[in-house]
């Protein structure tokens, strides 16, 4: 047997090869990380701003300025009290949802336009079929009626689960839907199976062929209840 085919050579080769590749990949990831982080933050600002105002054509610097000037960042606790000293933008929503409900700190963004009309932009996060899904909801100042939505996902299937982000019809159907019913009770917005259902103020169509992602969206929307105390305190 030639030297290349012996067991010990094969074993040693595999070890050295794997170790080398690991080091190279770790180096690349570390070097690229700051730039990737900047890109993610920029995308987040664009998502938030796009629910309340136009963002087309603005470059990164302009978006940053727009965001800092027009958006007020608020962090609340489970009882609806505002917390000082914490930045809503930097809050890791996924981590917060791993805590028990009473311990969570939740972010929200307040936008006031020139006429004094307030819009609350709320980030929610949930699980799709393959990875996380998230949404930025722009709510009217009643804390219930949706003005706009922007969905994101990590790795949902293109053409199926990914339609929550890619298909305009999906997010547009949320406009005007309400989380609270006429009696002021929290009922959330449910995502029905498939399309062509008869809808109410509290239901929307799901994406055909992607049951699990649609269910994930419905479960994610339930989490708006975490803001119920806060919105009630605003009314009083």
């Amino acid at each position: 047997m030639s030297k290349v085919e012996t067991n010990s050579y094969t074993f040693g080769y595999a070890m050295v090869f794997t170790a080398t590749i690991a080091v190279i990949l770790a180096l690349v990831a570390t070097v690229m990380k700051p730039m990737q982080e900047q890109n993610r933050e920029h995308a987040k600002r664009v998502s938030i701003l796009s629910t309340v105002t136009g963002v087309d054509g603005a470059d990164k610097g302009e978006i940053q300025v727009m965001f800092d000037e027009k958006i007020e960042q608020i962090v609340i606790d489970a009882e609806g009290n505002i917390l000082e000293g914490v930045n809503a933008f930097d809050l890791d929503v996924a981590k917060e949802y791993k805590k028990d409900a009473p311990d969570r700190h939740l972010p929200l963004y307040l936008f006031e336009d020139v006429s004094g009309e307030k819009t609350y932009v709320i980030p929610l996060r949930g699980s799709g079929l393959w990875g996380w899904i998230s949404v930025f909801l722009a709510l009217e100042d009643d804390g219930s009626t949706i003005k706009a939505t922007v969905f994101e996902h990590e790795t949902e299937t293109p053409g199926l689960g990914a339609e929550i982000k890619d298909a305009p019809w999906f997010r547009e159907q949320f406009v005007g839907k309400k989380f609270f019913n006429a009696a002021g009770e929290y009922v959330s917005i449910d995502v029905l199976k498939g399309r062509g259902n008869s809808l109410t103020e509290h239901t929307v169509d799901g994406v055909s062929g992607s049951t699990i992602t649609s269910r994930g969206v419905a479960a994610m929307l339930q989490r708006l209840q975490g803001y119920e105390q806060y919105f009630n305190s605003l009314k009083s």
């Binding site: 290349v4 094969t10 190279i24």
Partner: protein, 231 residues
Amino acid sequence: MSDSQTSVASAPIAQAKVQAKEALFSKKNRRLVTDPLFENNPITVQVLGVCSALAVTTQLRPAFVMTLSVIFVLALSNLVTSLLRKTIPSRVRMIVQLTIIASLVTIVDQFLRAFAYDVSLQLSVYIGLIITNCIVMGRLEAFAMANKPWKSFLDGVGNGLGYGAILIAVAFFRELLGAGKLFGVQVVPQFMYDIGYVDNGIMLTSAAAMFVIAVLIWIQRSRNPGLVDVS
């Protein structure tokens, strides 16, 4: 031995060595790059890598980025595999090849997320799928394991270009006919829409990509009858 004697004795050997070394861009080496563009095109002749040709060709921009990514991965993995070919134990041959490909694809993915974030979101799943692209594994096995580094590199570039040519051709028609745009820029003038022209929605589906590729194969084989029964 005196100096003059050694130089006389070694001159013919040196001359023979110079003749044996091939020029970097000799005719044979150039053909490694040009053959996969037409006669041996990975998609239309070898019929490999068709899957991603359907998925990323709705617009020209992602098709272009995908092409560059595949050329990079193909050329470099061919090169690295060829450099290592004599050291790889046969029992782990496929695993080593796969690791090389996967690492290069990971590097491309990291790079895109840092420098072309919006495109990386569009291509998200498909970049990872380059690892499973038959062309890459196919060329590694068929060429890089048995050929020298420079030739393997050229073969990778050639096949990447051949793949890219088809991708861009398909994306050209799909974006033009399906959205009236090229590279995101509106090309079909407004007056066409006014007189009743409508964007062809079918072009945005994968089925349309199949049709376009089929037409390209048909045109190629009509012009070159030698390819008719190749696959």
